[in-house]
């Protein structure tokens, strides 16, 4: 009796010792936008492989890129692809792996207007450039026949904090408007020609809801989860599309044909009849050379799982999943990690 207990205890001890020695701890940092699904993934992956623990700090894309470059984390995450200059700074090649997709939607508050508004790219660019200042401007009314729009001044709302959502929004406006591209450009924060800044999705939403005749952009996820009304946007094929997860995945599929080998691609204004035009990938940033063999295998294993089983968690958290062709290309890219 005593002996068995002793043996059991010994086994337990050896077992725990073994688990400890096989414990792999990875540190990652970066974008805040995909944080909910990343933390879900790392948690689920830990359940499947109890010896693997991945810590993710949602410190923002900028900090994520800097930490990968400095080598203080095992891998990073970003809502915008790294620039050529940033990649040139890196000590080793850094790969981009798209994980899920997000989108930005135009939300508005016009007293007396309950209809779902249609926005042309020209209208959105004009509103955000400050050249379209009234709701009854022909650029808006022509796309919305039958809607009685007031002649009030438009109050533009944008994000005040640097964010991937702003990157998607300004990337889209840069593609559809040369004036925007030359005057403002694309970035996580820009020099806004007009409007008020709200902090975070909640700050933007708060300003829209409380200010009559306002328009702003929020993440699709945030709009879906909080049941915010938002408008349709005209895509490259000429149809007005209301953003949903399928439309965002369609945009990614449309762009997949011309996907560059390094996955640094903008899918705003993507071709495809059902594609929602203001969509974007979010990326994991993985160094190509990982000295520690166990860490390297763990990262590769995780990437495989993320592209297959992991994708099933996406829709439950309101992220759009990767389309099939993109997954196939990414799977091939995993072998580049050495």
């Amino acid at each position: 009796m005593k002996k068995t207990l002793l043996v059991a205890l010994l086994l337990l001890f050896v077992g725990s010792l073994h688990a400890q020695s096989g414990q792999v701890l990875l540190n990652a940092a970066g974008a805040t936008f995909p944080y909910p699904i990343y933390s879900k993934w790392f948690d689920e992956y830990h359940k499947l492989h109890p010896n693997i623990q991945i810590n993710y700090a949602s410190v923002g894309s900028g900090a994520g890129i800097r930490q990968v470059l400095a080598g203080t984390v095992d891998f990073g995450a970003s809502d915008g692809p790294m620039s050529d200059e940033q990649l040139a700074q890196a000590k080793m090649k850094i790969l981009h792996f798209p994980t899920v997709l997000g989108a930005a939607v135009p939300s508005y508050n016009i007293p007396g207007v309950n209809a779902e508004l249609n926005f042309t790219p020209q209208a959105l660019a004009g509103i955000y450039l400050g050249t379209i200042t009234k709701w009854n401007d022909p650029a808006i009314t022509s796309a919305n026949p039958g809607v009685n729009l007031p002649g009030n001044d438009i109050l533009v709302v944008h994000r005040s904090d640097g964010s991937g959502t702003t990157y998607i929004w300004t990337d889209y406006l840069s593609k559809v408007s040369d004036a925007w591209k030359n005057k403002v450009g694309r970035n996580t924060s820009v020099n806004w020609p007009t409007g008020l800044g709200g902090k975070g999705n909640e700050g933007v939403t708060g300003l829209i809801q409380q200010t009559p005749n306002s328009i702003g952009y929020v993440e699709l996820i945030y709009a879906l989860q909080n049941h915010l009304p938002y408008g349709k946007v005209k895509n490259a094929a000429g149809t007005f599309v209301k953003a949903d997860l399928a439309g965002v995945s369609a945009a990614a599929a449309g762009a997949a044909k011309d996907m560059p080998a390094d996955f640094r691609v903008s899918i705003t204004n993507a071709p495809g009849k059902t594609a929602y035009p203001i969509s974007s990938f979010t990326w994991l940033l993985i160094p190509t050379q990982i000295q520690d063999a166990t860490k390297r295998e763990v990262i590769k294993g995780f990437l495989h799982w993320m592209m297959t089983d992991g994708q099933n968690f996406a829709e439950g958290l309101s992220y759009a999943r990767l389309p099939r062709p993109v997954v196939e290309k990414e799977t091939k890219a995993i072998s580049l990690i050495q």
Partner: protein, 327 residues
């Protein structure tokens, strides 16, 4: 050889260690050393902060030089950075906050210290201390959901109607802007002014008060002409503590100021402050120059606080010399 030496050693210096031991036992040396370390650690931390801010902002210091202080474009895409609108916003919101909070805070402190029954005074002071401990994000959320609509629909139109001839109260009213940020800041700093001023007023010796009353002063005259001047330095101290909090406040301000780096004469207009823009843009600042511009803004805020504190010291020095009372 060895023996006498050791004897001498043992015989002569014992008084020194023993004296040291005695002083140690009394705590003087330890206390002196410890407090010296604590005091110098403050200087050390301050210099490390300034050093780090200085080193990490060299790109923008080289690129823009003094223009950084006097230009007002903030463009992360084309990498043009100027701090002027942020400096302006920081100073204006803090000034509005002090304009509201100083009379309110000192008035309340006088009531609590001099006029209210002690029991009432103590319980109100407890609530005020509670108010000082509310996290600033709570003030920000209350600001955006409660104060902003009230400002837009009621207070700002009323100000425009009555004081609209001043450029301060003109232009479109959004509800967010310098004025709203100043009001939220005022609510946040008023507990500091009340709490510290009340303690200072309570610390004024009773015989000062009694002497004034004995000379035939009314209760209010004794308070206003004797007690308050006596406590002036401490009250000033509370105001500058409050000012420091207002200058550095981030979350609450960014939620209600509109975050638009522009310089406008109207208090209704949206603006931006130094602390807010740093907090908003730091985490997503990818380019090096951009990051250095934000760090240099931190340096500017440090400088601003330094200058204002220096001015405060001078003000206190000037007024205490002119007045006859030394606290």
């Amino acid at each position: 050889m060895a023996t006498p030496a050791s004897v001498v050693e043992r015989a002569a210096p014992p008084s020194a260690p023993r004296a040291l031991l005695r002083r140690l036992r009394h705590g003087d040396e330890i206390a002196h050393l410890l407090t010296l370390i604590f005091a110098s650690s403050i200087i050390l931390i301050t210099s490390v902060i300034v050093y780090e801010l200085w080193i990490n902002s060299h790109l923008t210091r080289l690129k823009f030089g003094w223009h950084f202080f006097f230009t007002s474009t903030w463009d992360p895409v084309f990498e043009q950075f100027g701090a002027l609108p942020f400096i302006y916003g920081t100073l204006v919101t803090s000034a509005v906050a002090l304009f509201i909070a100083v009379p309110l805070g000192i008035g309340a402190a006088i009531f609590l210290a001099e006029l209210a029954p002690p029991k009432l005074s103590d319980s109100i002071a407890f609530v005020i201390d509670l108010l000082a401990a509310v996290p600033s994000v709570i003030y920000g959320l209350l600001g955006i959901f409660v104060l902003v609509p009230v400002m837009r629909t009621t207070i700002e139109p009323a100000l425009k109607k009555t004081l609209g001839f001043l450029p301060l109260f003109q232009g479109p009213m959004y509800g967010v802007g310098f004025l709203t940020a100043g009001v939220v800041l005022a609510v946040m700093i008023v507990p500091f002014i009340i709490s510290v001023s009340r303690e200072v007023l309570l610390a004024v010796p009773g015989d000062q008060r009694e002497a004034a009353l004995a000379l035939g002063a009314t209760r209010w005259e004794a308070t206003w002409k004797v007690v308050v001047p006596f406590a002036k330095t401490g009250i000033m101290g509370s105001i500058f503590l409050a000012l420091a909090r207002a200058l550095g406040e981030t979350m609450a301000v960014t939620m209600v100021i509109g975050n638009d780096p522009k310089i406008s004469a109207s208090l209704f207009a949206p603006g931006y402050t130094i602390a807010s823009v740093i907090a908003n843009e730091f985490s997503e600042a990818t380019a090096d120059v951009y990051l250095h511009a934000l760090v240099e803004l931190g340096l500017v805020l440090f400088l601003l606080t330094f200058i204002l504190n220096g001015l405060a010291r001078l003000l206190i020095l000037a007024t205490t010399q002119r007045g006859s009372v030394h606290a």
